[in-house]
Symmetry: C2
Subunit: 276 residues, 2 copies
Amino acid sequence: MFKNKLARLIQEKKSLLCIGLDADIDRIPKFLLKEKDPLLIFNRDIVQATKDIAVAYKPNIAFYESLGYSGWQLLERTLELIPSDCLTIADAKRGDIGNTSRKYAEIFFQKYKFDAITVSPYMGFDSILSFLEFEDRGVFVLCLTSNKGSSNFQYLNIDSEPLYLKVAHRVLQWDLEYGNCGLVVGATHPEDLGSIRDVAMGLPFLIPGIGAQGGNLQMAVQYGTDKQGNCALISASRSIIYASTEADFATVARESAQNLNITINRIRKQKINDLI
Amino acid sequence: MFKNKLARLIQEKKSLLCIGLDADIDRIPKFLLKEKDPLLIFNRDIVQATKDIAVAYKPNIAFYESLGYSGWQLLERTLELIPSDCLTIADAKRGDIGNTSRKYAEIFFQKYKFDAITVSPYMGFDSILSFLEFEDRGVFVLCLTSNKGSSNFQYLNIDSEPLYLKVAHRVLQWDLEYGNCGLVVGATHPEDLGSIRDVAMGLPFLIPGIGAQGGNLQMAVQYGTDKQGNCALISASRSIIYASTEADFATVARESAQNLNITINRIRKQKINDLI
């Protein structure tokens, strides 16, 4: 079960950290460009330097898809480098009608063997079912996203409750049946994270938006975790993997990951202490 | 401009037909499996047999992505076979934060040179902006989808108006600025198509759901087209491309496309006549 594995790794590694592997040829250290596979070397060194701190790695599929065939090869080879005590999350945000959704589920869960995926809720249950049916994998449904455009639809009120809470309620129902749901909740709305956590106490949250997107880490951890300060992944990409673009990039990425994790754990401890 | 090209082709070809190229190795005629590239041969023969009737071809990206590297090669080679008097629509339903969305826009518009794409609205304006900025391409935003799960969120009422109409209003605003928006509106909700057309009179509709999904063609054409019976693409996939799985598959696909188009045009004529 994805949830159990997540809980176990959070405990073992004393970490909520998820590192986004947004491999971008324009942003990796220039000296790597002379290598045969610069992006693979980059991913390899980042994973190597952070694998004891990270609970999960989250390749954003767009960055791989944008490279054509070689991108899928890069993804495949990157996944091989991630040790089994780290979860892999396909940040794909897919969602389509049933027979198409099945194809996407096969790609990410069967072919690439991801532990989890992000999906879009707009098309509803049957667009997500094919993913839910892989009961040992996690399905993180977009709930309240970290970008500005989240205000366009996610905040619209339905019976005095915003759409994102309707999504949370609905996903909770699906989780009762399938047991493998989670929610994507952006750290850029920390004041609203708490209301989602109140609705979906037992669901794992994937929380992007700290780091480059400027979300509030203190409040994200405070309100995004469950009562024990668990059940959440705090995701950072650019602020870790591109922390340095010099020869020391992997060391600096490790330091950034470590510092972030120390800060997260301090907030978690504070939260638990405040409750006692 | 995408809209002008669409309008011109609809007029020239006397057709609203969009053919979905959902290339599936489990469904193509068995005798093709002895070929080196059975899916490419299949797509080639379907396009060859229907290109004078189809205004657009819509490869569903999941079917290509599911094949790994070879799928992207298949997509590339399929696109090369589609003549310039047919539009190409990437049925991708993407949507992500800005820097990721930009990557997806580059893949589909720059690398593969699609004329249009389908995107998901849930994450709002900035998740779609990168696509809108390609002003000569079309951006079809999911509005009311053809699957059952559309009832989960799309029909939720906001100020006594369903979410899908809020999406239509919002996309209309974006279109005022960028001029290249369209809506995806499923034929399985023909009674609601009219209300969307009332809101978004000038936007092209991409209407899937007839054929295998059982939508009502009569009402889809009646309510989904504009006052002149134009400005819409009626999309069918499986009911055309898999109409026969024997050696005659291309001929039968052509007949199916032709029959469908004749029926569509009869309904369009009836609609215009009723207005006079």
